[in-house]
Symmetry: C2
Subunit: 397 residues, 2 copies
């Protein structure tokens, strides 16, 4: 046991502050994640300096990020990818491609280095469906065509976002922007994704009888954790980010997640570790970089992030009418933890500057704050006047 | 995310090695904890040096110890303390007092410093009932009088062990062995224990409606974790060990643990963190200190640890016959995580030497290895020849 006061003190204080702000944000119907980040901004090293996280806290935050992406993977069932159909795939693809194009273009126009532009563009790509799912769930319109397209596209979205991050990290780690290298990295990343989605679950299935013979209680959880940690390390070893390995480890166990109760168990670990991650995100946000130029930049990037998803995700469903296109587009607007982690990876690799990091955090905040009220307006016509059911809340971050 | 290789590498390797050795030990019907410690001895800094744990790993091990004791507290229901009756209380009291007397006396005779002698004595005090419960469960004799006395006494045992540790840490932190100081610390520790057992649950009960109103999912888990971390920090702040605070936090929530499903959730966190703690215990065991003298010393301490529990726990039930006395005595012999943590606290306070630390680890190993076969012999006459039921395993560490 570590009797050093500062560590234990920070462990306690960060947990309480992060959860407190998360709860306040939830009560205001705002995303809890933003509250936890704000807690880090306020009492972190660039704020009140009440907590200057030690290396051990950052290490725990790193494990938090790994478990966060492991959970995202666990919730992405490969068989869902097949069942949601082509429309969702197209929505996801265009919804990833468009923000990358817009983001990269704008950052290059503003004379940012190409590597930094790529990271910001990648951070703009991934939709976080938690907020959308909750708003649509509250309105009881989850069964509508547009909602099903959004939820389906979100499954592809995470996988595509991780492939994109692999490619970006791969390019950045190599010498220059060689097209051959880009192609190889892309093929590697896609191959890795396909293996983990379609071959790894079979390996897991074959492990099943062995797991039941093991004496250790919770054998499936232990094996899953070991593989999550192993793939995270392997990903770093071959020049990817640890979270990519964690995400793909989650994919491999997604099919057995409900049966082995993995999700709720890993979620308990997340409840403890994730606040340290989000708090650290906020603690790394240098308030000193904020000036007029940065705020304009952040607003433009936010606007591009919103427009690119509207257009990118709306276009593939345009033949179902422009109303549906707008619904799908708005539903895909909120960004979340995946984008934040991408920015953090860039910051830690010294590729993303403190100001570009601040832009990504603000963009995430703007997209998650703007989307819900608009969703309530565009989905209004789908609300059926039916006998009031007990308002059941769907899961969200 | 922490992309530094060594940390992620150790995170993965320690988890896999510890769990692997734990599983091998389980298959051999030996306690998994010993396997996890052995893993640390073998590949740790004093062994193959494959893993020299970084500060971050030791920090995580420290959190592991906190959650371990939090779980022990969660499983100690204050209302059980009232229902198990006086016999169990006497068994627990004498079962704590006798090893402390024997251990302290022997260590003083061997010219160890008084502070070190106290720590070793305290480490000899606490029974770990996990192994006993499993052996008796396998034999299907959990409902016998002797078994019920043992399981009841184990509930008091942990509380008394923690009070003892508080007193020892209090004495050691103060200037000398002043009797007034001893009395004050003892009263404080007992008072703390009584408040957490009988008043704190009422506070938790009053919090209940508020918790259900909270938006954050898993509100009870979050509040419990916050209070666990807060009391751990408070304990260190007032000169106790962090684990004492964690244990008492567990006591406060014990009553609501089944209803809020706290045990299984905290257990998931434990599954991840505990291996780092036990591995670190082993990694701190300096193989260089082993010589003839130390081994003799360890064997004597082990023998005293066994005899003192036999006598201490047997005496209060002697009027039920000497066979029952032996059964209760043998059932209380195995020591476990609480004793190990006490030794570690002493090592980290630079009061327990590396050799005394080694003695405690060996004593724990000997008591847990010796007890089960003897239990099988002494409880043989209680086994009823009944139609073979599906062999159900009871919980154990």
């Amino acid at each position: 046991m570590h009797t050093a006061d500062p560590f234990l003190f920070q462990l306690f204080l960060i947990f309480v502050w992060a959860k407190l702000f998360g709860e306040i944000f939830e009560q205001l119907r705002l995303p809890a994640v933003l509250g936890e980040i704000l807690a880090g901004v306020l009492i972190g090293p660039y704020g009140a300096r009440l907590v200057v996280p030690t290396d051990a806290i950052y290490a725990i935050a790193g494990i938090g990020a790994i478990f966060l992406l492991f959970t995202v993977g666990l919730e992405t069932q490969p068989k869902d990818l097949i069942s949601v159909g082509r429309t969702s795939l197209y929505v996801a693809l265009a919804g990833i491609g468009m923000p990358v194009l817009f983001g990269f273009g704008y950052m290059m126009l503003r004379h940012h280095p190409a590597h930094e532009a790529m990271f910001v563009a990648a951070a703009m790509a991934a939709t976080s469906v938690g907020i959308t799912a909750r708003v649509l769930g509250d309105m009881q319109v989850l069964q509508t065509f547009a909602a099903r397209i959004v939820l389906g596209a979100a499954v592809f979205d995470d996988v595509l976002g991780m492939i994109l991050l692999s490619v970006v990290v791969g390019i950045v780690s190599s010498a220059g922007l060689a097209w051959a290298q880009l192609l190889i990295t892309a093929v590697e990343a896609v191959g890795f994704a396909l293996i983990m989605m379609f071959y790894a679950p079979r390996v897991v299935r074959r492990m099943e009888p062995g797991l039941e013979r093991m004496s250790t209680q919770d054998a499936p959880l232990i094996i899953a954790l070991a593989i999550c940690l192993g793939l995270s390390y392997a990903a770093v070893k071959i020049g990817m980010a640890a979270i990519i390995g964690a995400f793909f480890a989650g994919l491999a166990f997604a099919e057995y997640s409900p049966r082995w109760n993995l999700r709720s168990r890993v979620f308990s670990i997340n409840e403890f570790l994730a606040p340290y991650f989000f708090f650290s995100m906020g603690a790394r946000l240098n308030m000193g970089v904020f000036d007029c130029k940065l705020i304009v930049s952040a607003l433009v990037v936010s606007l591009l992030a919103i427009l690119s998803k509207l257009v990118g995700c709306g276009l593939p469903v345009l033949r179902s009418g422009w109303r549906t296109a707008v619904k799908v587009g708005v539903g895909m607007v909120p960004r979340g933890e995946v984008g934040l982690i991408v920015a953090l990876v860039g910051l830690q690799m010294n590729i993303v500057s403190e100001s570009a990091y601040a832009v990504v955090i603000l963009m995430t905040a703007v997209t998650t704050l703007v989307a819900p009220p608009i969703m309530k307006i565009v989905f209004r016509d789908e609300v059926v006047a039916e006998p009031a059911l007990a308002g059941r809340r769907t899961t969200a971050m």
